[in-house]
Symmetry: C2
Subunit: 210 residues, 2 copies
Amino acid sequence: MDDHTDQIRKPRADAVRNRERVLEAAKAVFNAGGPEASLEAVAKRAGVGIGTLYRHFPTREALFEAVYRREVEQLSELAEQLKNAKDPVAALRRWLHSGVEFVATKKGMMAALALAVQSGSELHAFSFDRLTKAIGSLLDRAVAAGGMRADISPEDLLRAFFGMCYVHDQAGWQATALRLLDVFIDGLRVRPKIKERAARRTSPAAKRKR
Amino acid sequence: MDDHTDQIRKPRADAVRNRERVLEAAKAVFNAGGPEASLEAVAKRAGVGIGTLYRHFPTREALFEAVYRREVEQLSELAEQLKNAKDPVAALRRWLHSGVEFVATKKGMMAALALAVQSGSELHAFSFDRLTKAIGSLLDRAVAAGGMRADISPEDLLRAFFGMCYVHDQAGWQATALRLLDVFIDGLRVRPKIKERAARRTSPAAKRKR
DNA sequence: TTGTTAAACGGAGGGTGCCTCCGTATCTTC
DNA sequence: GAAGATACGGAGGCACCCTCCGTTTAACAA
């Protein structure tokens, strides 16, 4: 039981191709039909057997993660950029708002985030780590700058964000989500100087209906 | 096509009995196994055929509403009582905290609330109206007392509440939810006097882990 | 009581989706 | 080209959803 250098074979061409096809199909199907969409539909669309799909992505979650990995990364990179903004609280706000944008665009995104948020069990999804770190960095800066209370964890904030977006398929939910997030951020703020606050007031805020 | 006084027959005894049984069984099953639990399991537990279950509750949602109606009413009544509290902001906070309690106790409650929150389509569930009104009354008083900004609707708040409870099956979620709700309420407050705020600081707040 | 009839029962059955398993096909390597 | 590893695909078993309709049963009248 030695000798044969464990050289790895080149991965099979068809396998690579099929994986890609499935991913493509899944993206299309999820973005359109929501997260309930059947995996068999995905397989059919990809032109592969259901068995192949399951071999590449053993669970629905795995497929979700793969499909929305790029999006999560984008969101994460955005946080990276915003880290250099001069007003860290505003940066956090902008990041959250972008998150809403993402959810609005990608119909299956919420399901993907749900995984991250629940972070059920051991696997501790890629998305969870990534997003937690992203938020954490923004949060830390805001706290360090003295603009924000320190007793909320990135995980908490992620959950809150997710929660506010929950109703992502109701008409007008975006405005609601943005408003709720703004309120939340206000709650996070260490009491600001009056002027500063008044200034900020002018921009966001949506007019209330009733 | 006249004459026969449309006297209504007394409802059949077995129908009444079965309805009750199903409700009972559903309560048990949902509270234990969560909202995913199969309706067939409910039927079996109730000792009735699946057809009977469907006749009484044509949709899963209908059954949910029926099962959690009492809970929603309790929550709603609590709001009624709290209306007389002297500090309306604190009253709102207490109500929300009670909500968390409810969710913690009843395993299917979140699913029931989900219905209310989504309020998908026309039916505009009983729960939605009831909870919206409950929150509305508390909110209005707080706003009227000058303690709270006026641009958040009861619906919004309900959604936010729901969102904060979303992770209701993770260890320690309750503490998180309470903390998040507190932050949110802080965000809702019209900027308070300093003393007041400092005083409140002492009680709630959970220590942050990291 | 007994008969009539509307109301309710129950579960078979058709549909869909999940996931596994394994005989077959295809690719890589020598 | 042959061998062996790897991947394919879809049949099949399972669970659940929901509908439909022949059978049963309770309410009412005679």
